[in-house]
């Protein structure tokens, strides 16, 4: 499926810009430079209350990872059938370079042999489920940057 088929909606408002130029939205503290994700109204580092929301970079490095091997109980809400998925923290700079943050995210890769701490990762978006109105609910994810490059070059078929 591609994003052009049918209506797509983000899983929550404020997590990422959608549908144009989709980017994760962080918040950076004016006082101490701490960056949070999602953006929040107060800074848990210095207790400041002046935070500016802004986009995070599309690429970063994998800081740690695991594979979710069993189907979570609710409130997990994804259309089946369940398949194991990767989860990790990806170190991302803010797009303006003023801060950085480790963002927890779904990973498109669930093969331990293809995940490595320090590897470059790229932002993507994955469908979770259909909502009652028939729109596809989307969430953010990261994929190994090499795979993203292969896909861009039209080599998806050879990867498997």
């Amino acid at each position: 499926m591609t994003l052009s088929e049918g209506k797509t909606v983000p899983v929550a408002e404020g997590l990422f810009s959608w549908p144009d130029r989709p980017r994760l939205i962080g918040g950076t503290c004016a006082a101490c430079g701490t960056t949070t994700f999602p953006a929040q109204q107060s800074c848990p580092s210095c207790t400041g209350t002046e935070l500016r929301a802004g986009p995070l970079a599309e690429t970063g490095r994998l800081w740690t990872w695991t594979i979710q091997g069993f189907e979570p109980k609710p409130p997990y809400a994804a259309d089946g059938p369940f398949a194991p998925y990767g989860v990790g923290y990806v170190e991302l700079a803010t797009e303006d370079g003023s801060g950085s943050v480790l963002v927890e995210s779904r990973l498109t890769e669930a093969d331990p042999a293809r995940l490595e701490i320090g590897a470059p990762m790229r932002l993507t978006f994955i469908p979770l489920r259909r909502d009652p109105a028939g729109a596809t609910v989307m969430t953010f994810a990261f994929e190994p940057a090499e795979q993203a490059a292969e896909q861009a070059a039209g080599q998806i078929g050879e990867a498997s």
Binding site: V11, A12, L15, G26, T34, T36, F37, P38, P44, S45, W63, T64, W65, T66, I67, Q68, G69, F70, P72, K73, P74, P75, Y76, A77, A78, Y85, V87, G88, Y89, E91, S100, V101, L102, V103, E104, S105, R106, P112, I117, L128, T139
Partner: protein, 383 residues
């Protein structure tokens, strides 16, 4: 005013169909009263709680409507530790002479399904499949192994020890020893952690009777003194469960609540890790036990590989860890887990731990509980 533990009670851990969590709490309370040789009417004040099995204070209708002040504690994985800390303060302040702390729980099978909104997180965090404690433990040990050279074989060794110790503990849930191969080859739950490297949510109850230290010998010939009990929440920069984001490059646990709570407990007690003869560390999974050894000050990061290989954490070793089988062999009824560690410490210091007794008449014990959302409670006990 110092504090002594003069009565301990346990409802066996495991699965008990048809027995409510409250009933397990009441059972443990009666055991503790009998152990101290007192009646419920003698208890001046009580603190207790569960995560998912009801309000402890309703037990007065079962134990007796004596009019005592009974405070419910609902503090995540530190529920038992918090009840203990409050009971300790009630005596130290001079308000009361004889106090009960208790904790119990009863969870359905399978992983916990936490509610994001109760933890101040957006619903999306649960909907997208990120709100699982198991993932956090997998990711924390994955990073720690990368930074400090801990091997997957060591993860299996920790679990094998837990089941060996559990086999010697009549109150444990899992009493069947497993080989390192069986553990390593069981289903992968959250890479690099397999099924038998994780504890399971379960059931059980613990109650403790505490009193002024100068009155302890009225109730027992073997008092154990609660030298310190601490409670801490997370500070900025630590790596905690249920975190949609982290500050860049937090080191596995530094600045975390376990480090802070352990340090505070040792400072209050005037003792250090080198003085401890037996320790109980939160082992939600085998990686947690390894990391908590360093976070609570018992070794440096990375030293665990050699310590565990050489048997240091076995019952006969120089730093016996989780002598009753820990969470891995006992399961995790959240409200009771932290107090189970104290129960085991009292048995060890009394010299009454039977087949799993640490040799050499241990004098100092340490306990450590950790859990969501980044909270820890530690205690130092002496005899």
């Amino acid at each position: 005013m110092n504090v002594a533990i003069v009565g301990i009670g346990i409802h066996p851990f495991g699965r008990h169909p048809g027995v409510s969590g409250l009933a397990q709490g009441a059972y443990a309370a009666r055991q503790a009263l009998a152990d101290a040789g007192i009646g419920w009417a003698d208890v001046e004040c009580a603190f207790g709680g569960s995560m998912a099995a009801g309000n402890a204070d309703t037990l007065v209708s079962d134990l007796g409507l004596t009019g005592l002040p009974f405070v419910n504690v609902h503090n995540g994985c530190a529920t038992g530790g918090s009840a203990l800390a409050m009971a300790d303060r009630a005596i130290r302040s001079g308000d009361h002479d004889l106090v009960m702390a208790m904790g119990f729980d009863k969870h359905p099978p399978g992983a916990f399904n936490a509610d994001p909104e109760e933890s101040g997180l957006g619903r999306w965090y649960g909907e997208t499949g990120l709100m699982l404690t198991t993932q956090f433990f997998g990711m924390k040990i994955q990073r720690y192994m990368h930074e400090y050279g801990i091997s997957a074989a060591t993860l299996a060794k920790v679990a094998a020890k837990a089941f060996r110790n559990g086999a010697r503990n009549p109150h444990a849930w899992r009493r069947q020893p497993l080989t390192e191969e069986e553990i390593a080859n069981s289903a992968m739950v959250s890479h690099p952690l397999t099924k038998y490297m994780f504890c399971s949510p379960g059931e059980g109850g613990i109650a403790l009777v505490l009193c002024r230290a100068d009155q302890a010998r009225r109730y027992t010939s073997r008092p154990v003194y609660l030298s310190a009990v601490s409670l801490r929440t997370r500070r900025f920069g630590s790596f905690e469960v249920f975190s949609p984001w982290l500050a860049p490059s937090p080191s596995g646990g530094r600045g975390g609540p376990s480090t802070d709570a352990a340090r505070a407990a040792f400072e209050t007690a005037g003792l250090g890790p080198k003085d401890v003869d037996v320790l109980q560390l939160q082992d939600t999974e085998s990686g947690a036990e390894i990391m908590h050894m360093a976070e609570t000050g018992f070794c440096k990061d990375g030293e665990q590989e050699a310590l565990i290989r050489d048997g240091a954490t076995e019952i006969g070793g120089p730093m016996p860890v989780n002598t009753d089988g820990g969470c891995l062999a006992n399961g995790e009824p959240i409200g009771a887990s932290g107090l189970r560690q104290v129960y085991e410490s009292v048995l060890q210091l009394r010299g009454a731990a039977g087949d799993r007794q640490v040799p050499g008449q241990p004098k100092v014990a340490f306990t450590h509980v950790y859990g969501a959302p980044g909270i820890s409670s530690c205690a130092v006990l002496t005899r």
